[in-house]
């Protein structure tokens, strides 16, 4: 319970960063932090007390493994995070090229 809450606090640090900061790179960092928090939450959900990693070993009967499904999902989520980061960094670099700054308050051609 406490550990879930700490994980969500990490989530909120990222959200705060996205909502308040005015620098493109800071926003990207905020997105990264939120991603970490969500991935960690998923793995926490599948953890089992005294559990073993879900990998079988030869000639050995292992009981009480942790849940493999969230791990598989988080693997997908990490890849999605990487893909998104690569694309958003590319866009941020193009914006820097066009405007000469990472400051979002100076990047304002659009009205609303």
């Amino acid at each position: 319970m406490m550990i879930y809450l700490m994980c969500l606090i990490l989530f909120c640090v990222g959200v705060y960063c996205i909502l308040v900061k005015k620098n493109l790179i800071k926003i990207i960092i905020g997105i990264g932090i939120v991603e970490y928090a969500v991935n960690l939450f998923f793995v926490l959900v599948g953890y089992r007390v005294q559990g073993r990693a879900p990998i079988l070993a030869q000639d050995q009967v292992i009981q009480n493994m942790v849940d493999p499904l969230p791990q598989a999902l988080v693997l997908t989520a990490i890849v999605i995070g990487l893909a998104v980061t690569a694309l958003i960094v590319a866009i941020a670099m193009r914006l820097y090229e066009k405007y000469g700054t990472f400051d979002i308050t100076k990047i304002r051609k659009l009205r609303g």
Binding site: L75, L82, A90, R94, Y96
Partner: protein, 148 residues
């Protein structure tokens, strides 16, 4: 007086020369043993891409591009994607999309688990080539310094 070579200092270059092969080998190991030990196509693919990126950071972009050109990278990427989709479609042999139609083999062996190692290889090709292509594109983007 030497002409300035591209890349970093001699120390970095020497160490890179020693380690880059190991990194590549480790990536291949991770990919091919994805179904018996931790790792898999994705992690291995990233490691393989990192070995090329390592080369690029140490020796400059020309050498790395000579080893793996951009055309080849984008070809491997599309090829890996098509290979993965084809494995999925071949599942129709067994009756379903993504059916594990291969023989399962003996557990704990390298050649076991049906389509899983094949999928790992396809993903590794895709991921390695794709990430390398992204990195090269980002490196080559020269941004003019502007004075307002």
């Amino acid at each position: 007086m030497k002409t300035k070579e591209p890349g970093m200092t001699l120390i970095v270059k020497t160490i890179t020369r020693l380690t880059v092969g190991l990194i590549l080998l480790y990536g291949i190991y991770i990919v091919t043993h994805g179904h018996v030990s931790p790792g898999g196509g994705f992690a291995g693919g990233v490691i393989i891409a990192l070995s090329f990126i390592h080369l690029m950071l140490a020796f400059g972009k020309d050498l790395a591009l000579k080893k793996l050109s951009r055309g080849a990278a984008s070809f491997f990427e599309s090829f890996g994607a098509i290979m993965f989709l084809t494995i999925g479609l071949l599942g129709f042999i067994g009756g379903y999309f993504f059916f594990n139609f291969f023989s399962k083999g003996k557990p704990f062996n390298l050649f076991s688990a049906g389509i899983i190692p094949l999928c790992n290889i396809a993903i590794c090709l895709k991921v390695g080539a794709g990430l390398f292509a992204v990195f090269v594109a980002l490196i080559l983007l020269e941004i003019p310094i502007r004075k307002e």
